[in-house]
């Protein structure tokens, strides 16, 4: 049995975190949520995440800073940026740091899941549950 892919969600807005988590669940993905970038970085039990979804504007540390730190640590975890920010320079910076995708809120579920599927790989993607 293939392992369930695990997605990390970093967003300061609780409603967004819960909504994304539920979407992962219905898709058959595992999900862990963090209310800030430091909370993710300082996670005491680093899990074997397959993908990270992060907001950009957050108190304390921004999503881009988080991406920068991860790359500095040598992590090549696929990162999907999900934000309300329309700033093109921030978007360019994200791609420069190797972001997988830049999606704006509100996001269509298909668009997000397509990007997750690309990040995780079709072979690890869960089958259609219940179908």
């Amino acid at each position: 049995m293939p392992k369930t892919p695990l997605v990390a969600v970093v967003d300061d807005d609780e409603a967004i975190r819960e909504a994304l988590c539920d979407l992962m669940m219905v898709t058959g993905l595992g999900c862990s949520t963090f209310d800030s970038a430091p909370a993710f970085l300082n996670d005491n039990a680093p899990k074997d995440f397959d993908c990270l979804i992060t907001d950009v504007r957050m108190p304390g540390m921004s999503g881009l800073d988080l991406l920068e730190r991860m790359r500095a640590r040598g992590s090549d975890l696929p990162v999907i940026v999900l934000t309300s920010v329309l700033d093109s320079s921030a978007r360019a910076k994200a791609f420069e740091l190797g972001a997988q995708a830049w999606l704006t809120k509100p996001v269509a579920d298909d668009a997000l899941l397509d990007q997750l599927k690309a990040a995780i790989g079709a072979e690890d993607w869960p089958g259609e549950p219940g179908h």
């Binding site: 807005d13 409603a15 967004i16 108190p59 540390m61 996001v107 579920d109 179908h131």
Partner: protein, 701 residues
């Protein structure tokens, strides 16, 4: 109104009860002869061809002792010892045109004096006799010193009164009976009844001197028909009453009765003489004395004329009102133990109506006539009700002020003028001093219609300006606001799509869908709340006061600014005091202040590249029970030169700033009765603090 202007009758427009019989006398007095003889040292008398005195100069008063008032319109025969010959003498005079000789005439003190007189008939153009002019001086053979009386001393010009006591016949009779009784209290009782008699006595006519001495600014027209007591010095009212009884009950018809009165501040050692007139029920009174003033009489007259002119030309509208009878009613009510007069008036609204219809305006100035659009002073010399047609409550307040013994009362009220204009006026009332001789209340009205409408326009302008500033602030915050609304919308979209996925499975998970739907609703409400707040800030509205919680206002303000703060990686610390009392205020305007101060700090902190990026805000209850909001940032602080100007309009250090934000903050806080200050923190950064007093929602401070 117009029809009344030419009438000479002193009857006031609203008082049919005023006796009209005084009118002919008044007309006769008006038509008196040339003023040139007023200053002659010789007696100058003008008779009509029937022998009735037409003019009687002051020297005649001095010579014979009879005031002009008592002589005008009458013959002189009753003063003569040979009155039976008078008719014959008169016929001869008219025939011959002139006569010269010595006559003996009676003075009020009863002695007869010999007078050298010359009489000349003056003829009309058609040759018929017009009148007779008589010159007279005391006969030298009688031992008078020549030239001694060439100047008529002031004390000899009597202040004369004709007084009607016909309504008091029963009282006079009662007093006459009581005089014969003996008793300890009798004198006090008698004095009280004498005073009562003077109150009931009405003025039929007075001479110029009386008007000058006690008429105040009112003039003869308004003295006629009034109670004598209103003008007679308080200390000597009983004396006058006693003399009236003497004269009315005396056996001899022509007898005069006199008494020295106490000096009363008007005349020094005045001597009052009273005698009966031919008209039943009336008496004459003549008061002689020197004006009790170190200044000369002429000077006094000039100064009084100047004063009258000054009052008349004052640009402020003035009313003089006689509310003496209300003062007595208030005394009676006080004696009943009433202390809360407002409550008493609520139970007796008719008392306000009584004042409106019986308290008379006794004098007014030119500005008052202009303000009310009257044609003549008489239009305004009516009961005061017309001043309070729009706002009766103002009259009630005036009454309460007097009852409570205030020195004056002032309020802004509305009046309607005779030509229908509605004016905003500032009314100031000065009450008579207790125990003052004359009970005179002064009203002044200042037209503030224009000022009030200007103030209303200014308020509107300020409201518009404040609104414009809010819109401008919202403009600066669009990114933040968009983010705030987008967050719940994003959650809603994702939750809805997830629900659809649960539903489209072979085994639809209804429990999951229920939970997600509940979250959708919650996020929807959150978005709606944010929209409400923005709508409040954006709406164009008049300031409105409601019960507010300062902490709530601070938290709501953060909604607008939170994203701005987070995106700039600024740490915000809030330290809100617990259990702050609510106060009355405008929620949106106070939010505007907090948001403005926060934006200011965010921009200040943002501008500096290095150092801590921190804003601390808090609320406190001050020692004296007011609400305070404080804010401190770690920005560069305020330049010392700018601290004093920072709240001025159009002061800004920002390139794109209008410089209205802080000025509006200050005006909003000032409108809430509070103050706002700016300073630099010793450890760097700017700090702002505003304090507003607590006004509890039930209205008490």
């Amino acid at each position: 109104m117009a029809g009344r202007a030419g009438a000479l009758s002193p009857a006031l427009p609203d008082e049919p009860a005023v006796p009209v019989q005084s009118a002919p006398l008044y007309v006769a007095a008006r038509a008196s002869e040339p003023d040139v003889a007023d200053f002659a040292s010789e007696s100058v008398i003008i008779f009509d061809i029937e022998g009735a005195v037409h003019y009687w100069n002051p020297a005649s008063e001095a010579l014979y002792g009879w005031p002009a008032l008592t002589m005008i319109g009458r013959g002189i025969g009753h003063l003569s010892t040979r009155s039976e010959n008078e008719r014959e003498h008169w016929r001869m005079l008219l025939q011959e045109g002139t006569w010269q000789g010595v006559v003996s005439r009676r003075t009020p003190s009863g002695i007869h004096i010999a007078v050298d007189i010359r009489q000349y008939v003056r003829f009309a153009q058609d040759g018929t006799p017009r009148d007779v002019i008589e010159y007279g001086r005391q006969s030298l053979s009688e031992g008078a010193i020549e030239g001694a009386d060439w100047h008529i001393p002031d004390r000899l010009m009597a202040a004369s009164w004709e007084i009607d006591v016909s309504a008091s016949a029963p009282l006079i009779a009662a007093i006459a009976r009581q005089r014969n009784e003996v008793g300890v209290d009798n004198e006090a009782q008698l004095n009280a009844r004498y005073t009562e008699l003077v109150k009931a006595a009405r003025i039929v006519n007075v001479n110029e001197r009386t008007v000058r001495l006690v008429g105040g600014n009112r003039g003869r027209d308004l003295m006629i028909g009034q109670p004598v007591a209103g003008f007679w010095p308080l200390e000597s009212r009983a004396t006058l009453g006693e003399l009236i009884v003497d004269a009315m009950t005396g056996e001899i018809e022509d007898a005069t009765y006199r008494q020295q009165m106490p000096s009363d501040g008007i005349l020094r050692d005045p001597l009052v003489t009273v005698w009966r007139t031919e008209t039943p029920g009336r008496i004459y009174a003549a008061v002689n004395g020197t004006v009790d003033d170190d200044r000369s009489y002429i000077y006094l007259r000039a100064s009084e004329a100047r004063y009258r002119k000054l009052v008349n030309h004052m640009p402020i509208a003035l009313w003089q009102v006689d509310a003496s009878h209300m003062g007595r009613i208030y005394n009676d009510i006080r004696a009943m133990g009433v202390t809360d007069f407002a409550a008493y008036l609520d139970e007796h609204p008719d008392l306000v109506e009584l004042a409106a219809t019986t308290v008379r305006v006794t004098d007014i100035n030119r500005a008052a006539i202009q303000m009310f659009g009257g044609n003549s002073p008489l239009d305004l010399m009516r009961p005061v009700g017309y001043l309070f047609t729009v706002n009766r409550a103002a009259l009630r307040n005036v009454m309460i002020g007097r009852f409570n013994g205030q020195e004056g009362h002032a309020e802004v009220t509305k009046v309607q003028t005779f030509d229908g204009r509605l004016l905003d006026v500032r009314m100031s009332v000065t009450y008579p001093k207790i125990l003052a001789e004359l009970d005179v209340t002064i009203f002044s009205f200042e037209d503030v219609t224009e000022r009030l409408s200007m103030e209303a326009e200014l308020r509107q302008l300020q409201a518009d300006f404040t609104h414009a500033a809010r819109i401008s602030t919202l403009g600066e915050l669009t990114t933040s606001i968009a983010h705030e609304i987008n967050q719940p919308l994003a959650a809603i979209v994702t939750n809805a799509e997830t629900s659809l996925r649960w539903l489209s499975r072979d085994d639809p998970n209804v429990e999951k869908v229920k939970a997600l739907t509940a979250r959708i609703a919650a996020s929807g409400r959150r978005a709606s709340d944010i929209v409400q707040h923005i709508r409040g800030m954006a709406s164009k509205r008049q300031p409105e006061r409601s019960a507010i919680d300062l902490n709530e206002i601070v938290q709501e303000s953060l909604i607008f600014i939170r994203h701005e703060i987070e995106s700039q990686s600024i740490a915000i610390t809030t330290n809100l005091a617990r259990a702050l009392p609510h106060t009355m205020g405008d929620r949106i305007q106070l939010q505007q202040v907090v948001v403005n101060l926060l934006i200011n700090s965010v921009q200040a902190v943002e501008a500096q590249a290095k150092g801590k990026r921190e804003i601390c805000i808090g609320t406190q209850l001050t020692e004296d029970g007011a609400l305070a909001f404080t804010l401190r940032d770690t920005g560069p602080g305020i330049r010392p030169d700018d601290i004093d100007r920072i709240f001025e309009g159009f002061f800004t250090t920002k390139e794109a700033g209008m410089g209205i934000g802080l000025a509006i903050c200050q005006s909003i806080i000032a409108e809430h009765g509070g103050s706002i200050t700016a300073s630099n923190h010793p450890d760097g950064g700017a700090q702002f603090r505003f304090v507003i007093p607590v006004e509890s929602p039930d209205g008490s401070a």
